[in-house]
């Protein structure tokens, strides 16, 4: 009851902001939902925005199972995009069936390398992975900018590469802008669910997350798991970066991601790390983000203003009474 009231509060407060901006909040909300959920096209745009969130959220949920906090999705995503772009620019002449797997692999390697550093540092007990992933987040976009501005930019622009050759683009589905990244995201979430539920790895990871000391005494190689799981998580986030440049944008733009990795952290945290929860939460977040485009077009407020509505919704969920909270894993 109280929870529903607070959710309403978020919408009322944002409505107030719309009202001060000189627009009818009720009509704006109606338009927002009608344009995202009311048409096949609107829905497809929501799914487009949702796709990278699935992957960056999984990159947080996976290490969370063994008690690791990966705040570095943003950086891992950038490194994945960076390496995948190098592949697209270097081997652009190859046919798609060969080039795309290469790019996927490169994207995953880029993200994995970026997560390997925090993984090793944590496994050896040198630096906490929360701090190191956070620091590396800010380094990765600079590396991308270094390559884009210095070497890869197209003759016309300084801040982006030339459009990728058609063979370097992920195929789209159903004649919409939804790309193969969606299938990859959903597929990986399903694999994650299966592995955690019914394999030895899943069991050992749950043991490590539940009681690390007992797990270690039972002979579970904790260090190897820490490094391995961090690398896997980085690879997944790197794949998100690859899908963004190869599917959504078709070019590598400096600073293209404004917090997709961070949003993945929030999604995973809100979903309690459950695969179904991640899909549902990503979808809801994507509705709000897609609505931002509409507000910009019809109401004339800057696109990022929609972050207010998003954050207020997050605040409400974060502030929910603690007895409804299932678990505290991010």
């Amino acid at each position: 009851m109280r929870y529903g009231g607070m959710a309403l509060l978020a919408f009322v407060l944002f409505g107030l902001i719309l009202l001060i901006s000189g627009t009818d909040p009720i009509r704006s909300y109606r338009d927002l939902f009608a344009s995202t959920l009311g048409s096949a096209y609107g829905l497809s745009e929501v799914v487009v925005v949702m796709t990278p969130l699935l992957l960056t959220a999984l990159a947080v949920a996976l290490p969370a199972r063994i008690g690791l906090i990966n705040v570095g999705g943003e950086g891992q995503l950038y490194m994945g995009a960076c390496l995948a772009t190098w592949g697209a620019l270097t081997f652009g002449a190859l046919p798609a069936w060969l080039l795309l797997p290469i790019m996927v692999l490169l994207g995953m390697v880029g993200g994995a390398v970026w997560a390997l550093i925090p993984g090793v540092l944590r496994a050896r007990g040198i630096v906490n992975e929360t701090i190191s992933t956070l620091l590396l987040n800010s380094v990765a976009p600079m590396i991308v900018s270094f390559f884009v501005f210095g070497y890869w930019h197209s003759p016309m622009d300084t801040n982006k590469t030339a459009v990728f050759s058609p063979s370097a683009r992920l195929p789209t589905l159903f004649g919409t802008r939804i790309d193969l990244g969606l299938i990859l995201g959903l597929g990986l979430l399903a694999v994650f669910w299966l592995v955690m539920r019914s394999t030895r790895w899943g069991l050992e990871m749950r043991a490590l997350g539940g009681n690390p000391q007992a797990a270690r005494l039972n002979g579970i190689p904790a260090r190897r798991y820490i490094v391995g799981v961090m690398c896997l998580a980085g690879a997944v986030a790197g794949l998100a970066g690859m899908a963004q440049v190869s599917g959504y944008y078709g070019v590598l733009l400096a600073n293209f991601s404004r917090g997709t990795g961070f949003m993945g952290f929030l999604v995973s945290w809100l979903a309690g790390g459950s695969p179904i929860g991640i899909v549902v939460t990503s979808f809801v977040v994507a509705i709000i983000l897609t609505g931002g485009n509409l507000l910009q077009l019809t109401v004339g407020v800057p696109y990022s203003v929609v972050n207010i509505l998003l954050a207020m919704t997050l605040f409400v969920v974060l502030a929910r009474p603690s007895f409804t909270r299932k678990r505290s894993v991010p």
Binding site: M142, M263, S304
Partner: protein, 305 residues
Amino acid sequence: MSPLALLGVLSSAVFSGTSLLYTTLGEIVGERSGIVNLGLEGVLLVSAASGFSVTSLTGNPYLGVLTAMIAGGLMNMILGYLVLSRKANQLASGLALMFFGFGLSAWIGRGFVGARIVGLPRLALPGSSRLPELYGSLLRFDLLIYLSVPVAVAIWWLLFRTRWGLGVRAVGESPDTAYASGRDPRLLRYQALWLGGMLAGAGAAHLSIAYAMNWTEYMTAGRGFIAIALAIFAKWHPLRAVVGALLFSAAVAFQLLLQSSGIQVSPFLLNTIPYVLTLVVLIAWGGRRRVAAPASLGRVYQGAE
């Protein structure tokens, strides 16, 4: 290198480093009480936007600075409410605050993109009038710059030489122990967050009102995260933060100088210095307990009831 060029590098380092110093001091105060604020970037943006818009509307930059500081404090109160009163996860709450700041600052600043303001007045360094004209022009700073080092000393004094500071540090190490010795962890953390927010607000005000003198979306460009890195680099000590902030901004200013003498160093690689250096320092410490962070940093305090 001529002394004039060196002075130019120092002067520009001071100008770009001041916002970083205030922000780092703010994060240090918060983290000493056990709260890590990942939303610092959002706090800075909201402060920068509100300070700039008030300056633009009233024509009074000092009023703008004051507004920015209050805005910073209020932003941190949101974090405080979530993590202290609602016992929410600190990292998630901080990131949500960051997105809130992205949105709110864009909304506050939407009518002020491209607006022109009278920035914080620059006052000549006493005695610099006797120097040649060119040198004197490099030695004109605004009030926030003159106050930055005294403020750092004041924060050091507050944290390490007062009862309040002892309480804050005690809460940061162990809220339960602090509670047992008669302190109110929640109240102290709220106070530390308010002070930290005001300091971050002052940093943001220097950025938008004195340094850049304009407003653009995302104008802080990662300064919040640099400050978080610097707080670690400074081992959570206000006076080391002064050295850190100056060091990093001097590196960037130095790059401009190198460029003008024909040596090309990528600005993007130089911008990674704060993060890479902090990581290197952390590795050098090697997780030794002696230099470790405030012990309760990032943990939820469940209360002693």
